[in-house]
């Protein structure tokens, strides 16, 4: 058992938010076709408000702090925010597109002791990447940023999102990452827009593309183990929590709104009106999220995949019921194992398995 796992378990037992994701702005210099955000500024928290929030988060026990957006560098006070976060001894991870990072910015991030910088790259081909970001020259700038950051000795991770427009390029981005000497992650999740508009779901990669990446040993390692049929769940799974959202993890928007997770737009309070501690402790919505056990999920508790599915309660919430299935995760479980989920069988979107019954004499 790793120390990090033990730390998470301890945080869970003590009710401590060990991880916080803070979007400091939704403004962005790119206009990614799959982005779920509205990029207008509707009244972001001020520097003073964010610094005060950082103190509250430190007091609450947050250890891992992800600063993201929007594009974090669109805020002129970005480095002041990072400096304060590091002064409060957070483990800071920054998510950025890298377009505004040159040598001075990279040096500053290293001097401040940022743990990791995650940079989005959607294709190794400029015409594909730039058509997704809608910013000409963005791939070139992003690759240069990665080189600046690497030259400072910083840990960089390339994050790719699998969608219809780049489905054939994940191997190319993997090779680019290898050439740059940085790890690579791939996420096939496209979420509805924060305002409920689900038109961008048409960008979700086809099942066949998800199937293909799940069988890429360079991506998943042991394909046989990764794609194995799920074992029957133990009691610990059935009595367990669906995910860390609201239990040990929390999300805060640039406007101070608190949600269980960036993908779980259930409003739980606002740090401009209440203290973070009051929201974390007393929010009725967070209590509701925390009460849910796998056994309480009306469809998923009886699903073969209940122990291995990446079911996202936030995506389920956006589909209308936080206790319900998330169809995107049903699809992933199906593409990974070839076994339809309980939800698919109920909805009739996949053929039911043939059940062989003993012949009665």
């Amino acid at each position: 058992m790793s120390l990090l796992y033990e730390m998470n378990q301890k945080a869970l037992q003590l009710g401590i938010p060990i991880s916080a994701h803070l979007d400091i702005t939704y403004r962005c210099n790119e206009r990614c076709v799959h982005c779920y955000l509205d990029h207008d500024d509707h009244g972001e928290m001020t520097t003073v408000q964010i610094v005060d929030l950082l103190h509250q988060l430190a007091e609450a026990g947050v250890f891992f702090l992800t600063l993201s957006g929007g594009e974090v560098l669109m805020r002129r006070d970005f480095f002041s925010i990072v400096q304060e976060a590091r002064r409060l001894l957070f483990n800071v991870k920054v998510k950025t597109n890298g377009v505004m990072i040159r040598e001075p910015e990279a040096r500053k991030l290293r001097e401040l002791g940022v743990e990791q910088i995650q940079i989005s790259v959607y294709s190794h081909r400029a015409q594909v990447h730039d058509s997704i970001t809608k910013l000409p020259g963005s791939l070139k700038r992003t690759i240069e940023a990665i080189k600046f950051l690497k030259s400072q000795g910083l840990k960089v991770v390339i994050a790719n999102v699998l969608m219809t427009t780049n489905a054939g390029d994940h191997r190319g981005v993997m090779k680019l990452a290898a050439d740059l000497g940085v790890p690579y992650t791939l996420d096939p999740t496209i979420t509805p827009k924060i305002d409920g508009d689900d038109s961008i779901l048409s960008l979700r990669a086809a099942g066949s593309d998800i199937n293909r990446v799940f069988r890429d040993p360079e991506l998943v390692g042991d394909v046989e183990a990764f794609c194995a049929a799920p074992l029957p769940p133990g009691e610990d799974i059935i009595d367990g929590y669906p995910c860390s959202a609201g239990h040990t993890a929390i999300y805060i928007s640039p406007y101070g709104d608190v949600f269980p997770c960036v993908q779980f737009p259930l409003p739980c309070g606002n740090v401009r009106k209440q203290t973070f501690a009051d929201i974390w402790r007393d929010s009725r919505q967070l209590k509701e999220v925390r009460d849910i056990r796998a056994r309480d999920l009306p469809v998923c508790s009886s699903c073969a995949h209940v122990g291995t599915c990446t079911r996202c309660p936030g995506l389920a919430y956006m589909e209308g019921n936080m206790r319900g299935p998330s169809t995107a995760d049903c699809e992933k479980s199906f593409q990974r194992t070839g076994i339809p989920s309980a939800n698919m069988l109920i909805r009739g979107s996949r053929p039911a398995l043939v059940q062989i019954q003993p012949v009665c004499s």
Binding site: E6, M7, A58, F63, K155
Partner: protein, 106 residues
Amino acid sequence: MSNTDYIARSSAIAARLIGGEMMIMSAADSTFFTLNDVGTAIWQAADGRTPLCEIVESKICADFDVTVTEALSDAQQFVNQLAQHGILRTSNQPIYDAAPCPAPTA
């Protein structure tokens, strides 16, 4: 290092005091540590202005059932280990820019 050396919390770390245990991650090599109550007491007292021998006497021997000789030997080993990972700094002169000590979580 000697017992009269000063020790200071490094700022090149991430740290939180959770349930009485100090959780620390080194920014230099991402090594993750959890300190027990004795280690936590030393780390909290590492303000850069108090020599190790004084910390051991006032924070360890006063609160834990251990002799000064034993405690000093263990504390030196502990400090050396953390210093190797950049978590503590040591000097024969006072250090005036020790990182702040995280308060217990609310």
